[in-house]
Symmetry: D2
Subunit: 343 residues, 4 copies
């Protein structure tokens, strides 16, 4: 059995790791840390785990974590970058679900996060954990930076168009919408049910921290700089991200449906829907899956791509486990065979 | 008192007309028709109206309706176009909330609605009821075609940019999202709570019936043809439309905030939010108001406009009453002073 | 015009007072206080009020408040009881929406709120502001303690049965459910959308602070002690309270429908539904109305009463304005004619 | 592998059977019928099943079904009672999720369902499939009548009290609330999102079809007749049932917490929560689990029990699979180890 440690297990990506790992045949969670909840049983905080885990949160302890085969960071940014150097030195392998190692350029990271990076020396060896792009590098990595939720959906949607050079990379548009769980489990008036239920709004229009990550990833695929106008919105629901992507064709479209189907034909967790079917967040709820559709409305020159994921699964904890499986040479879908909860 | 008739009062725009007219100082509802519910009291179907109206639904009767000063059609398409000729001939004035008279070209109408238009001879005299564009013509009209919900939000958002010629009119993008009440009150599996709650999806990407209306209205303002890539989405909530609009600048942006504030300075029901504030559907819930914000993310060349309305008020029944007030020379905000229901 | 002051205007009962007073023909809000938001415009915090109020929050100032004809306290408990003595002494009349003056016995109050009462000398003169019971005393009161949201629904539902001595007063059961707005606008993890959306639970089963208020009010009506098993539940929505009440008949039921209809025949804001119709919170949303139904399932000996209100209106701010109108001799329904927002 | 057939697979209990059986190590779905959708692929109707099942709906065919080891009926009432006799005769074993065989007395069944029972001769051999009561009989049964969703929660909550004779069986009260999925997947205006979102109501107060089933099951446990006042409510959400139960003590309560913990100590799918923790529907979402809590508010004589289940899992399809496992001698939790989806 693979020994798994989780740092920062009280948030939603933490409990989601626990939910998914409960059905993983080869992984055992041996340590889960939380300064605030140290000593409290997991299932006292998360009663859905009663009878599943006989564990309590503990203080973060580098030695205990270093004894794990894989350590997940399910923390806000600015935690992992301080602890990971020591863990790597001790021989652990790390999957970081936070933003700390997603941006290769420490200056850009600092611009968006408002502080210096604590371990910039690790940025070159951190692998961006989007398996559909970097599977081989992930297999050999000691440190994987798991993509953000919005960036997962936006990149998977745009990749075939950009890789084939079909669209103008300088004027991409991503109109995305997320359930509130993307904001984490923190006491903020802005995320009270009374403030965000039964309503819809854009936010972060001036600049969202996922923008540089999106542009970095897409530029890699395009082989040239890209510019994305990225507008996230907040949905009155808990889980799910849906991105509607717009790009202008540079020439003939060709058979876009065939392009997408072929591009992702061998991907276990990317599902290109047949013509006429559009993604819904409810069909991927709880599942490690991205559903995609592509269209060319009115046969004009603007391609529209729609992508749906569960932000906590393919957008976070599921993708993290997918990365772990690849790193450890396990079957990639181990622990990730949950069917979407519909209705 | 103005005598008001309502054809097709059992749907959501019907009950919303009744809610709003209950506080209108000069209007009295004297007839409300429904074939299916004829004889049933209004407040039996809509208990929120108990004690407010002492009325029952009646069979549609042209003479009774013709005796009204204004007749609202709160019907699906394909009803008004058959009855309106007779009503106009009898001297009534009509505000049609359906799609029947929104498109000036009967062939285009037929292409999108799949049947011949029943009274194309009235199309030239029908006035498109967007007061922010056509206030003077509405005042003199006998037949006003009230705009669709999506088109109201999309047009109010794009108008200043197009009227000033600031953006490329051939590549506009509208990513809109609506509450489920926009689909009306019909027994369809697709709109069950179990099918659309707790989820989000795009629909009608290949072509939505509001597209020709949007392009017609915006072309009028632009003075040249426009092309819009319009993607509507379904929100897991009852009321509210939010449109996120994208347009590419042709040159310098100038002060977009000032442009919007000045453009709508005298409009009672268009509210340009101050910099840093973004529209939310909850702040206009139940109110006849469109809230707008404009931004130029990353100081690049793509303008983003956000518009929020209540689809049943400024997107339907409130706008219909606004049109009626203009037609009758009443104060434009009469019956329309409701404050948004927040939280 | 009546000059109105509001203490603690940043919470949901505060903004609801503002929404309702905007349509009140005789009242003008002249001061609204908040220590935390002093200097901030109302419509910056609550954009639904843009164009309605040209006011900013101010520091609480006794002199300014004392100059008002009526001062509303829309505060958590433990604020009013410290300020009210001074305001009354200065000649103001007060409607307290908090719990401070609802319980006549200062010891009982202390038991439930965990601190001594700061102005117990005012308890004898405070009038419990349930107009359906105390209309005459409210008219003469200087200090009205507005009932809690749950207690309003529970009392209005049980009153006819208890006043007529039809049921066992020692074993009443109230199974109530509230939208999340009842918990106020405070940063708590427990009320995040992610914690309470898409779920349902009981809470406060061991003892909820509204219990002594309910039992005090019902005992007054019954003329003997009553005991209520009160179980509140949390609904995954913003507004609305629904109480399902159970009581055992002592003898023959008689015509319960007629009893309820007659009991409330002259009440402007209590609506006994006809047989076969049951209350829904959506039909009273935004309205100052309690809808009631009574049933005797299977013709056995347990009466079931259902009561629905909007917790922020008839359960708080609407009832507060109703009290103000009675105190000032204004028409009782002034400012309270909003129709429920349906759908 | 066990060959499984499903009759009526297009409804929500059908898709839920498919979701759960996808992780069942010993079961294979070989036939799934639907007259309306015959020929359509499962994953076209339910895209969450893409890549999981390579099956299409077929016309009901007795021979094909009889070749299965177990046939589930996921149909409305009045289907199974016509087909089951033939299937049993052909040697199949049946788990009926509908109401057809739940009531032992055919006359009572007819009273509540408004038609004669089509196969009353099978009623004596049908076993009521509540494993916590009838595990041994289920093991030997050919025909299991799976309990209704409300009855599962109400019975599991009341059983320890009644079995021990602690409470008055003639005046039990059950105030239950269900998500909308309990109403099935049928085109009805009443269940549109616009009609039931953002609202709460009681329904069926005069008499709900689950009442005789509840009273029959509880009388068996009590060993004497019971009478339940049962009031179901509709929650604005998809999944979940919560029942709040009230019963009057006949004497001393004793240690109720210990009673419940001991009663269900060996039950894999009934979880008595520790003191101070109350059930929430969200903690059992997607899981085959009933969470229970018991309380004696104010140390008076009314016991309150709270029970939460997922109506589609422990209230329907999960319990059906639990029954199948028992019938076939498989491990009872096979295919039922899903962790609740939280948040």
């Amino acid at each position: 059995m693979v020994k798994v440690g989780i740092v920062g297990g009280t948030g939603y990506t933490g409990v989601e790791l626990l939910r998914l790992l409960a059905s993983h045949e080869e992984a055992e969670v041996v340590a889960i840390t939380s300064r605030a909840e140290s000593g409290r049983r997991l299932d006292d905080l998360y009663p859905n785990l009663r009878g599943i885990y006989d564990l309590a949160f503990s203080e973060p302890d580098v030695q205990a974590l270093a004894a794990c085969d894989v350590v997940f960071f399910a923390t806000p940014h600015n935690v992992a970058m301080n602890l990971v150097p020591e863990l790597l030195a001790a021989g652990a392998r790390v999957v970081d679900l936070s933003a700390d190692y997603r941006i290769r350029d420490a200056d850009i990271w600092s611009d968006w996060y408002g502080e210096p990076h604590a371990s910039p020396e690790l940025l070159p060896e951190a692998v961006y954990g989007l398996p559909e792009v970097n599977r081989a590098q992930i297999a050999d990595a000691s440190l994987v930076a798991c993509p953000g939720c919005y960036p997962t959906s936006v990149q998977l949607g745009f990749i075939p168009l950009l890789a084939r050079g079909l669209v103008d990379p300088a004027h991409l548009i991503a109109s995305s919408a997320s359930g509130v769980s993307g904001a984490g489990r923190q006491a903020k008036v802005d995320n009270l049910l009374t403030e965000v239920a039964d309503s819809f709004k854009a936010y972060g229009v001036a600049g969202h921290r996922h923008l540089p990550e999106i542009e970095q990833g897409l530029a890699d695929v395009a082989g040239e700089p890209v510019a994305v106008t990225f507008v996230p919105h907040l949905l009155p629901m808990i889980r799910g991200i849906h991105s509607t992507l717009f790009a202008r064709l540079k020439g003939e479209a060709g058979d876009l449906q065939a392009l997408y189907e072929q591009w992702y034909a061998d991907e276990p967790f990317v599902d290109v829907l047949p013509p006429g079917m559009l993604p819904q967040t409810r069909t991927v709820k709880g599942a490690n899956r991205c559903q995609l559709a592509v269209a060319l409305p009115q046969a004009r020159d603007t391609v529209v791509v729609m992508a749906a994921i569960d932000n906590l699964v393919k957008g976070a904890s599921g993708q993290a486990i997918q990365n772990m499986n690849i790193m450890l040479g396990l079957e990639e879908s181990m622990g990730l065979r949950q069917v979407g909860l519909l209705p």
